[in-house]
Assembly symmetry: C3
Homo-oligomer: 482 residues x 3
């Protein structure tokens, strides 16, 4: 844990992520005010959870994943429930096969002098991921092909794996590698690669509709704070927070190993993925770089526009980048057969920062401030998606007579009257059953909230009807659902 | 009347708008030369008519509107006919109801010293529009809530109304208000609010087709020259001028009270508004600011492009602004249920200029030059719409052999030969039954007249056939209609 | 022939265009390497052929065209075959009629002193094209309307014709015209205008599909090197080169008189022009100005994008201009009834350079360097069109597992591994049966070759299937066709 980055006071006991009381108090917040209700200090809560998630050995299968999911479950508290799925090795999943399960009892390299060179117990990164079991005495020359370092970063340990080609190895600093004396080395890698299963976690928070909002994060990377303990922690806090809020969408949160996990989940849920209206892959949310949204393959899905709007509202530097088929699990969700409206949110992108996939991605590399900022932007993105609708003006011939309906009183005093009036007029003019509120806000050049408040007020006096696609409760009065 | 703004000589008797002889001579002009035939001095003619229209009390109903329409009828002369419609109070019109009719016998505020403070006979603006009848003696403090002034413009009288909430009041200069002594004031407002009717005027000029060109202007504003005596005068001169010209479109000109008038007209003509191919709302055409066109909701309707082309051709500063659901009667014509191709033309926009809705919008605020310029741009816009067509090349396989058809002689010597040739080639190449002449002029980057002249010449030798939608005379030879 | 422009050594015997051995050696080159296999010195070969084509009298009909086609046939060698078509005078072709055939025995103007003023035997440009036969003695004043010069270019002879209006005349330098003494002149124009035929040449190189690539050039201009001996020579070398290469498209090369030739060909092939997938009109390929591509009327046809890509790849200044219905035979191919995807490639555009349509468009005006550069860009454009395909990912749900398929070995070592990987991922992600490889290269911002190589590799392991429209061999494995 990095006290220095949390300030001198330290966390309050009830702010601990492993304490069941929700960080945002007991009162469910209004859906329209998500951002304001994520607890007094979500950054510290998240950083604490990152610290708890960091130590265990972890890979795409094995007990490290199970330990991680148990930590998530504890941080969630009694509600919401985390379902843990186990998919047997050898199961065909799309073009792939669930691999053998990998577990690590110990892994140590001992030098000619009998001293430990590296030990996975000190840092899981020291062991090449998916190393086969080995017990051998080798000369330095024989050993060298199995040793991985970063010559340009001599003090960092790289993160390396070999999932689909059998291999073994150790990762160490280049400084340590350069200092290794000739002689005989003892390799003791006590791992198992056996028919077991792939483990992933899933949380479902039912909404008033079957339309789904998917949030996924990868759970396979060991011992790196930003990539991706930050994602696991943030998804956990999102689940806690969303569980306490009214929801139009059904939220589904996945804690899955990268690539093979999303492929496995997609293979098992192929018939129902069409329910996904919005999705976000969460990775690298705690570093100090600017928040970054990567668009879905569709490029202008509602979530793409909501995330862009949420970022723009911050008034601070940020990036919105186009989809490319390189990155994390968005590659699978956005493969052309699925083509789901799933974007990716984070801060530094893979390859942007030198600490990427190294031991330097540590607790100091992520900050409570960045974690809190990412969390707030995510809640705002979700808030906009929750409130975005396609409305139809029920009185489209001429303007309705607004004065007699008391609309200005309905909207209240939080916005200035001119903005309210323009919001009302724009929504009435453009709500023709084809445009969403995001569309209208763009065309009117008004804040989303102004347009959404105007739509709510108009719906409250039956001047709008909801034609949002596949909204199972669309027959109910709009006002009753908020 | 403001002689100073018309020069020392004064108007010629036959140039007066209330004299029946048309300002543009007795010869009907060719449709293609509208702009050149609007009379020797339309600016003075228009300014005179503005002066005549200015004095009477006017509101959304009542005798003031009838007086105004009678002035229009006299200015029109024996032809064309102005039909006056009376729609009873209480008639449901779309989401609205025709209000009670308001008439003013007199309205006077008398001070403690027995002197008149303000009298509507001096300026209709002194009376709050739709004031209920009142006869009372009040202290200054009791009176204050009923007195309206402009603290930031202490010498101007504001224009205020209270159509749909019963109220009464007086408008006066802030300087006058500040000087009012304490004491008892006599309020004498002798108005009636009774079941009567809403009055509007309509002129129909049949064309060779049922396709309609709608021109509307609001008649409800009292005592302001730019907003909107300028619109009433301009619509009047347009009607006179168009009556003397060949017409492809049927022109319909409306003199209607703002908002409730267009709503009433739309309610009564709901089944036939689909004939409207182009429309223009005319407001504020006489002030000194740059001519301004506000696009229809569709944004790229033919009238939007024609107006933009006419403005661009002037080579002078002008504005073309996007639709917004705020402004004048375009709000109703462009409501989503109707979504008619109706834009708005004027100069200063509401809120742009401080004189807006004040006594400073007087005869000096509008100039013959601006009125004439607005009128010329309107005629040019109409001219382009009249001449815009969708043609189909009857010889689309390869280029037709132009040389043997004597086309260059047909077009004549007014354009240079190279421009003519490019016009012919572009029209032949793009006239595939989907593109209008405006489309072709844009793509070819040629003046509209070049393209239109080329199309006329090609149609004259049967190389083009007219496929303009819903042109009821499209079976007739194209040349015969010009 | 202009030895000076080919350097001191002169051409090797086997490099002569009138020698049957192909300039690019006997080994057929791989389609993907067109540009590298056009012979060691295509520029000199082309310049020699331009020199051979230059002297004869030539017009839209007559023996000059036949002589030209015979020269082309000799330059082609035994393969491929050039078919010469003769279309009788009077044949209706679209809106036109094949004109009378024009032949020239001699044409001379003799001065008062008995000395020859101009003689077509010295330069075909001296005779007005399609001059009627005349034998007359005229005063200078009588003669003047029949003499054409260029006052602003006093040393150049203009190129003039009068195909469709009967006339006769001589073209001469303005300096010569100014010096003509008064007196009697003898006009001896021994031409014939008779029922004959219009002559054009056609080469068909069958491909593995019926999809056609049309290449046309005009053969009617006499005695001008750039316009258009350069086009005739370049089309000849393209035919020779393409004959020795594998071809997916069927290539059709036309040697036709301008305008009436393309109209005649289109009239005779109206039922099969739908096979044309790409087309290029070749004109003015040898001058020193930048290479220029003029888009087809469609504007974004595959050939438009391929040519733009080929030009961009040169990294040198070039122009890509929009279609306009003015120019050469693209006017006919892009007439709205046909609307074929035919662009035009050349260097200086008509009217851009003062030498256009004058005696100054001579052998020195074209350079081997420019001819070779134009030829290379054309081959690259053709190469891209040959390789462009629409593929469909056969494993679109999630990413396929690439590692087990040995794809990196399949692509080989000529590209860097990261570019290969991005190419594979982009093709898999976007190959949904609607996008061509040009589309994918644009979206991915990758070189066409990277994307095409990735597609070939993926097709080789059955991860792509070919859905290119109307590919008659699409049932065969994609790999077998390369």
């Amino acid at each position: 844990m990095s006290d220095s980055s949390r300030g001198s006071g330290g966390p309050e006991p009830n702010a601990s992520p492993l304490n069941a009381s929700p960080p945002n108090g007991s009162e469910p917040a209004d859906a329209g005010e998500y951002a304001a209700t994520a607890g007094a200090d979500p950054g510290t809560w998240l950083h604490d959870l990152v610290a708890t998630l960091l130590p265990p050995m972890r890979s795409i299968t094995g007990d490290g994943v199970r330990t991680t999911l148990a930590t998530v479950a504890r941080a969630l508290g009694p509600e919401p429930a985390l379902t843990v799925h186990e998919v047997p090795s050898g199961t065909p999943v799309l073009d792939w096969t669930v691999p053998r399960e990998w577990n690590v009892a110990s892994a140590r390299l001992t030098g000619p002098d009998g001293k430990t060179v590296v030990d996975a117990a000190d840092n899981p990164l020291h062991l090449l991921g998916y190393s086969t079991p080995v017990r051998a005495r080798l000369s330095l020359d024989e050993l060298r092909p199995h040793l991985f370092s970063m010559p340009d970063r001599p003090d960092w340990v790289p993160y390396r794996t070999s999932y689909y080609t059998e291999n073994w190895g150790f990762c160490l600093t280049d400084r340590q590698l350069a200092a290794l004396p000739d002689g005989e080395y003892d390799v003791e890698i006590d791992t198992t690669l056996t028919a077991g299963s792939l483990t992933y976690g899933e949380i479902v928070l039912p909404g008033t509709t079957d339309d789904e909002f998917l949030i996924t994060t990868h759970t396979c990377h060991p011992a790196m704070a930003n990539d991706n303990c930050s994602g696991i922690a943030t998804a956990t806090l999102l689940a806690r927070t969303l569980a306490g809020l009214p929801r139009r969408h059904t939220f589904r949160l996945l804690f899955i190993p990268g690539t093979i996990g999303s492929i496995t989940w997609l293979a098992r849920n192929r018939d129902t993925v069409g329910r996904i209206r919005h999705g976000l892959v969460l990775t690298g949310l705690g570093d100090r770089s600017d928040p970054t949204y990567k668009r879905s393959r569709r490029g202008n899905a509602a979530v793409d526009r909501a995330a862009a709007a949420a970022l723009a509202e911050t008034g601070r530097p940020h990036r919105v980048v186009d989809f490319s088929p390189y990155g994390y699990d968005e590659r699978q969700f956005c493969s052309p057969g699925f083509d789901l409206p799933v974007g990716r949110f984070g801060r530094g992108q893979h390859g942007d920062y030198p600490q990427y996939h190294t031991s330097a991605d540590d607790l100091d590399f992520v900050t409570p401030q960045s974690l809190a900022d990412s969390f707030a932007i995510l809640l705002r993105t979700i808030d906009i998606c929750e409130r975005d609708r396609i409305w139809r003006n029920t009185t489209p011939y001429g303007e309705p007579q607004l004065g007699r309906r008391g609309l200005y009183r309905a909207i209240g005093a939080t916005m200035n009257r001119q903005a309210i009036e323009m919001g009302l007029l724009w929504v009435l003019n453009l709500a023709d059953g084809t445009r969403s509120l995001l569309d209208i806000a763009d065309r009117a050049d008004l804040p989303f909230d102004t347009v959404a408040a105007a739509a709510d007020a108009l719906a409250g006096v039956d001047l709008l009807s909801d034609v949002t696609s596949s909204d199972v409760t669309s027959a109910a009065p709009a006002g009753a659902r908020r």
